[in-house]
Structure formats: structure tokens, C-alpha cells
């Protein structure tokens, strides 16, 4: 047999894993990226200070809610600690007319959209299923069934296309080109509805941004159980762009989200962003993370949390001490107001729940509501 030298070309990245975007590294030094740096060039120090402020308010809100749950004032709490850059940064890149479909941990997005602490805590205090009017904030109710909101976001985005196609826009002369954002987690990315949503979004070129916060854990299950490659890799398989960003880098998150929304508004279809971050707190207050993750992991991840990084950068940029001092005072006051707003939430009346089942009268519900009223009155007569 003749000697034959065969060279098999081994691609270095056989799955086409997207590179990880970072614009502010762990040491809070700026990194340049030809494609993405221009998307944050206009952000001056004052603006960034405002973003920092929202991140700090979010952190305080979250700590306060965790404490409230510990004191029995909330049924449950799902902390977002550590994910503030991914949340506040992506929300910062949106416009008010964009419609957002959150999962249940997007407190930083909710606060950015102007939702009051009390409104946000109503669900977790067990007084309401949604404390705000979604249309007032273009921010849908939290969804607790994982991934269920993702097809809703896709359909809503399809509706935006229909509005334009059918001439149903509120103001046809407006140059507003709203987009839709669907937030979900690394664990949720496994649910079939996410796959179907991406197929639909691609087929109908829906103006939707799939924003995955990969916080490395789905309760006790590590990301490696959900996927062998970053989730952003999947986008290529659906035929749209997938971006992978350091989710604790506020500039990278803002740049990627602005870029994606610009593309979506231009009618260039869906985009997927995977923000790699880390859940510093427990999954919820009912969880005990010491059962499944090490202290070392938590400590090393804490070093890379987003707020400290941004603070370091701001200080290096010359933000004066007085800014941080004043903000500390504001944050403290805010904490107290969060507490009060939770404690002041009105308890619901059971009777009212009959009225929300259907949008129009339903005889069975009416009959049961009537029965319940008489049943209650029976007790009052006895007393």
C-alpha cells in the first residue's frame, strides 16, 4: 500500500460557538470591539451613574424583599442578586414602546420600567397574581411556568408585523418601531416552547429579542445538564444571530442589546442574546444552595459581580465620592420605602376572584359567587 498522508482539517470551533463579548473586563478596564464599542460611545459618565443608581436600587430592593420573606411578610422571594447588569443594562437599551415578557426574576427590568416596589411584591406576598397594569409599563405579568411567556412574546411580535402590514398602527406616521423582548433562564431554554418560539420567530421574521440570562443554575441543576455549548450557539440553527456577552459587564449588555434591537427594528428578524451571569443568592427563599454548590464557587463568582465592577470604573472615570455617599443615603431611604409598600399592600377579598375568571358573565361562576356570599352571611348571622 502506498504511503499516503491524509490531513484531516479539524475546525477549532466546530459548533460555531459565538465569541464572548466583553467591553468592561473584570478589572473594570475598557475593552475595544470594532462592532460593539460604537453602541456605547454616546454613554457619558452621568448616564452611567444613573444606570449604576438603578442597579443599586435593584440590589437594595432585592435584599429588602429577601428580609421581608424571612420575617414572614412574603410567601416567597426569588432574588436577582448578581444579575443586575444583565437586567438593568438590557432594560436601559429598550424604548418605552418595546413590550417586555419577563419570567419571574427580572426585578431589575421591572424597576427600570417604573414598576413600584409594592406592585412588584404583590405576587410574592400572595395578594395578587400581577400587581401592575402590564400596558402601563409595556411589561407583562411575571410568568412562573417556565418558558410559557416565550411563545407569547413571539406572537406579540408577529402582531407588531401585522399592525404594519394591515395598517393597524396607532399612528401610521410614527417612526416608532417597537420590538418585543422575551426573558428566560438557562434552565428554561430546554423547554420545548423555546424551540417552537424560535422556529416561529424565524418563519415570521418576528421583531423579538430572546434574552437569556444564563445564571449557571436552574435551582440545583448546573448549566452543563442543559447544554454542551453556550445557548447563543443555537441561534444559528434557526437562522438568526446569536450573541454571547459577559452578563456582568454593563457596557457589553447595553451594546449587545442596542445592536440587537436596532437590527430587529430594521426588520432583520429575531436575535438571541445570552448574558452569562451568576445567581449569587438562593434560587428562592425556599432553596438551600449549600446542598448543591460550593462556597468556593460562590466566593469566586462574587468577585465578578457587576455592581462592584461598574463602581470601580466610575471611580476611575472621576465620579466623586459625594455621588456614592448621596446614593447610599437614597438607597437606604428606598429600602425603608420598599418595606412600607409591602406592609401596606391591601389584602384581597376572595369574592373578587370570582369576577376575574371570565371577561363576560358566566352562570356557573355567578351561581357559586352567590352561594359563597350566602354561606359567608350564614356565619355573620350566627355571630
Amino acid at each position: 500500500m502506498p504511503e499516503q498522508q491524509t490531513t484531516v482539517e479539524v475546525p477549532s470551533n466546530p459548533w460555531g460557538i459565538p465569541a464572548r463579548l466583553q467591553l468592561l473586563n473584570e478589572e473594570a478596564q475598557l475593552q475595544h470591539d470594532d462592532k460593539f464599542s460604537p453602541y456605547v460611545e454616546d454613554i457619558d459618565r452621568e448616564t452611567l451613574q444613573q444606570v449604576y443608581r438603578t442597579m443599586m436600587l435593584t440590589r437594595r430592593f432585592d435584599d429588602e424583599a429577601t428580609a421581608l420573606q424571612r420575617q414572614g411578610q412574603l410567601a416567597l422571594w426569588a432574588p436577582c442578586k448578581g444579575q443586575e447588569a444583565a437586567q438593568v443594562g438590557s432594560a436601559f437599551a429598550t424604548r418605552p414602546e418595546d413590550f417586555i415578557f419577563p419570567s419571574y426574576r427580572e426585578h431589575g427590568v421591572a424597576i427600570s420600567r417604573g414598576i413600584d416596589p409594592g406592585e412588584l411584591l404583590a405576587l410574592f406576598r400572595g395578594v395578587n397574581t400581577c400587581g401592575w397594569k402590564p400596558q402601563d409599563h409595556n411589561f407583562q405579568a411575571y410568568t412562573l411556568v417556565l418558558a410559557a411567556q416565550v411563545p407569547h412574546a413571539t406572537g406579540y411580535a408577529m402582531g407588531l408585523n401585522f399592525d404594519a402590514d394591515f395598517g393597524n398602527e396607532r399612528d401610521p406616521n410614527s417612526d416608532e418601531k417597537p420590538a418585543v423582548l422575551a426573558y428566560f433562564g438557562d434552565g428554561s431554554s430546554t423547554e420545548g416552547e423555546v424551540h417552537e418560539s424560535m422556529v416561529f420567530a424565524a418563519s415570521y421574521n418576528a421583531p423579538v429579542l430572546f434574552f437569556v440570562q444564563n445564571n449557571q443554575w436552574a435551582i440545583s441543576v448546573p448549566f452543563s445538564t442543559q447544554s454542551r455549548v453556550p445557548i447563543a450557539t443555537r441561534a444559528a440553527g434557526y437562522g438568526f444571530e446569536g450573541l454571547r456577552v459577559d452578563g456582568n459587564d454593563i457596557l457589553a449588555v447595553v451594546a449587545a442589546t442596542r445592536y440587537a434591537l436596532e437590527k430587529i427594528r430594521a426588520g432583520e428578524g429575531p436575535v438571541l442574546i445570552e448574558a452569562e451571569t451568576y445567581r449569587l443568592g438562593a434560587h428562592t427563599t425556599a432553596d438551600d444552595p449549600t446542598k448543591y454548590r460550593t462556597n468556593e464557587e460562590l466566593e469566586s463568582r462574587t468577585l465578578h459581580e457587576p455592581i462592584g465592577r461598574l463602581e470601580k470604573y466610575l471611580r476611575a472615570q472621576g465620579t466623586p465620592d459625594s455621588f456614592f455617599e448621596e446614593l447610599m443615603a437614597e438607597v437606604k431611604e428606598y429600602g425603608a420605602s420598599v418595606r412600607n409598600s409591602a406592609l401596606n399592600l391591601q389584602n384581597p377579598r376572595f369574592e373578587d376572584f370570582f369576577e376575574r375568571v371570565y371577561a363576560s358573565a358566566h352562570p356557573l361562576v355567578q351561581e357559586e359567587a352567590q352561594w359563597f356570599q350566602e354561606y359567608q352571611e350564614g356565619f355573620e348571622e350566627q355571630n
Binding site: A75, L76, L123, F124, R125, G126, V127, N128, T129, L144, V145, L146, G187, S188, T190, E191, G192, E193, A218, I219, S220, V221, T225, Q226, A286, D287, K291, Y292, N347, P348, R349, F350, F353, F354, R356, V357, H362, L364, V365, E368, F372, Y375, G378, F379
Partner: protein, 334 residues
């Protein structure tokens, strides 16, 4: 040391969670075909700690912390069963079973018949169900009627650690798919488990309190509530019999009919919405069989026709002692 001391005691007092844990452990020890799959059931031991220690004892291959997809969990369980395994998948909460609804109702339930009886699919799906745990949406539901309405599925519940242990053991042994509903608010309730009760039949009802004037039929978390209501009625001079249905499909109508032929009155209680619920099915069956014995219409006490409400008002939604007593009163004053 005496020999007896080395043997496990035939009766032990356990919480329901521990009894279920023991049932899984014993089933896994007896056969390496028994495998568990679910979200967070391994390292964490499940969100209710029901599977605690099993991953350490049997390894991650037999106690799988699966990827996060219910359709995947049940669909692959079906495939495993076709390959000869006896999967015991866990659905984390009642409200999260629906992504798997297609696999359960269209595939699992029909596989035996539609393959000409050539495949048995002994999958036992464990689902914590029911409310009054002060939780948020989708964590307190009672979807049993949806499954009982599906031919091909067996649907079983338990109200005591003993029944939970044996109900689960026998469900796993069953050649048919079983949906095993665990009343989550009773996970921490203690009771004696008799490990010698090897001829336990999970598909039968049990009279848990004898009485002669009225029968209450219920299951799951409401059994202790019904017993308390019966006790209160006793003080008012009524002798009330209480039946724990245990099995929802098959429904042991015989046991209830026997009781109603004696008492002449029946109240059925469940947490699930009354409309389209198991109470309606049982009521019709009893009316068909016991028409001439009945002294009053069969009455149902259940959830209202609304989604399970928020925690602050859930106790007004779920039948409690007072709601059952009111129905008892109505039956007697008919």
C-alpha cells in the same frame, strides 16, 4: 444481640415524605430496572426532599437530575419503559405537568393498546398536588380529574404515610402507567407504616371512620379534614362514615355504594374545582346504584370555578371543616 434487633421493625413511624422516600428506596433495591428522573431530585433531593439520599445511594444514573423539560422527562420515561425499565419520574409541582400533557394523555395512556398489547409502559409519575402551603401561582393545583378522564391511566393518591408507602410500591409494580398524586401539605404528617402489608391494594377505597347516618367520600389532603368534620358532626349527634377513596381511577364505587346503602347520604369533598371534578363522576355512579337508598341528593364540596387563588385567600377556596359541615347539614335538612 438478639436476632430480632437486626431485623427492620415491621412497623415504623414516618412522615409521608420519608415513607415515599423509603418506598422508592425499597423498589430500587429490589430491581435495578427502577430508575428515577426529574428536576432537582438528585443532589438536592427534590424541592420537598422526598428523594433525599437516593442519588448518593444509587448513583446519578438511576437518580437523574434531568434537563428542564417535562415533555422530555415523560417522553423519555416512555422510551425507557419500552426498553424494559420502570421509570418513576417526578413532576416538581402539579401546575408544571402540562408541558408533558401530550406525552401523558396521547402517548403513555395509549401505548399498550395501540401497539397491540405488545408494550407495557409501567411509568409511575409522582406529582405533589393540592394547596394550602402558602405558595404562589401554579404550585397548589389539583388536576387529577384531567388524568382520570383519560382511559389508560391509573390515578392514585394517599392520605397517610402507610398508604403512601404501599400505594407507591404497588404503583411501581403495576404494569400500567400510574399518576401518583402526593398531597404536599401532608408531607410532614407522621404516621405508622406497616411494612408487612404486602397485599395492599392501592386501587381500592378504605373506610377510615365508621358511621351510620351519612358518608363522606374524599381523598388526599382532605381526609384528615373530613375526619375532623365527622368528629364535629358526632358532637351534633350525627354518626358520619368517612371513606378515603385512595384510587381515583379505577374508582372503587363498590365500597362507597355499600356505605351509602347503609347511610343513605353522601357528601363528596375534594380540593379540585367541583365542576367537571371527580365528585360529579362519583355522584352519578352512586345515584345509578343507590337511588332507592338515598335520602338526600349527593352533595359535592370542592374548589370553585376559578384558577386556584392567591395565598392570602386560599383557605376560603379550599374546602375546610366548615364547608364540609355545611354540606352535612344541608344533607340532613333536605
Amino acid at each position: 444481640m438478639t436476632t430480632e434487633m437486626n431485623e427492620a421493625p415491621a412497623v415504623e413511624t414516618l412522615t409521608m415524605a420519608k415513607a415515599i422516600n423509603r418506598a422508592l428506596r425499597d423498589a430500587m433495591s429490589e430491581s435495578n430496572k427502577v430508575v428515577l428522573m426529574g428536576e432537582d431530585i438528585g443532589k438536592l433531593g427534590g424541592v420537598f426532599r422526598v428523594t433525599e439520599g437516593l442519588s448518593a445511594e444509587f448513583g446519578e444514573k438511576r437518580v437523574m437530575d434531568s434537563p428542564l423539560g417535562e415533555a422530555g422527562i415523560i417522553g423519555t420515561s416512555i422510551g425507557l419503559a419500552m426498553k424494559g425499565y420502570r421509570p418513576v419520574p417526578e413532576i416538581q409541582f402539579d401546575g408544571f405537568v402540562f408541558p408533558a400533557f401530550n406525552q401523558i394523555t396521547s402517548q403513555l395512556s395509549k401505548m399498550h393498546g395501540r401497539t397491540g398489547k405488545n408494550f407495557e409502559v409501567p411509568v409511575t409519575i409522582r406529582i405533589p398536588f393540592g394547596g394550602v402551603i402558602g405558595s404562589v401561582e401554579h404550585h397548589s393545583e389539583s388536576p387529577e380529574a384531567l388524568f382520570a378522564h383519560t382511559p389508560g391511566l391509573r390515578v392514585v393518591t394517599a392520605s397517610s404515610p402507610h398508604d403512601a408507602y404501599w400505594g407507591l410500591r404497588k404503583s411501581i409494580e403495576s404494569p400500567d402507567p400510574v399518576i401518583f398524586f402526593e398531597p404536599k401539605r401532608r408531607y410532614w404528617m407522621k404516621g405508622a407504616v406497616n411494612f408487612g402489608h404486602t397485599n395492599f391494594d392501592p386501587f381500592t377505597a378504605e373506610v377510615v371512620r365508621a358511621g351510620k347516618d351519612l358518608t363522606i367520600a374524599t381523598y388526599g389532603a382532605l381526609v384528615p379534614v373530613a375526619l375532623a368534620a365527622a368528629q364535629a358532626a358526632q358532637e351534633g349527634g350525627y354518626s358520619v362514615e368517612v371513606i378515603d377513596l385512595r384510587s381515583i381511577s379505577p374508582l372503587d364505587v363498590e365500597t362507597v355504594a355499600e356505605s351509602v346503602n347503609k347511610t343513605g347520604r353522601l357528601v363528596i369533598a375534594h380540593e379540585a374545582p367541583t365542576f367537571g371534578g371527580m365528585g360529579g363522576e362519583l355522584s352519578a355512579s352512586i345515584t345509578e346504584r343507590c337511588f332507592y337508598s338515598l335520602e338526600a341528593p349527593v352533595l359535592r364540596v370542592g374548589g370553585f370555578h376559578m384558577p386556584y387563588p392567591v395565598a392570602k385567600v386560599e383557605e376560603e377556596y379550599v374546602p375546610g371543616i366548615d364547608r364540609i359541615l355545611e354540606a352535612i347539614e344541608r344533607s340532613f335538612t333536605y
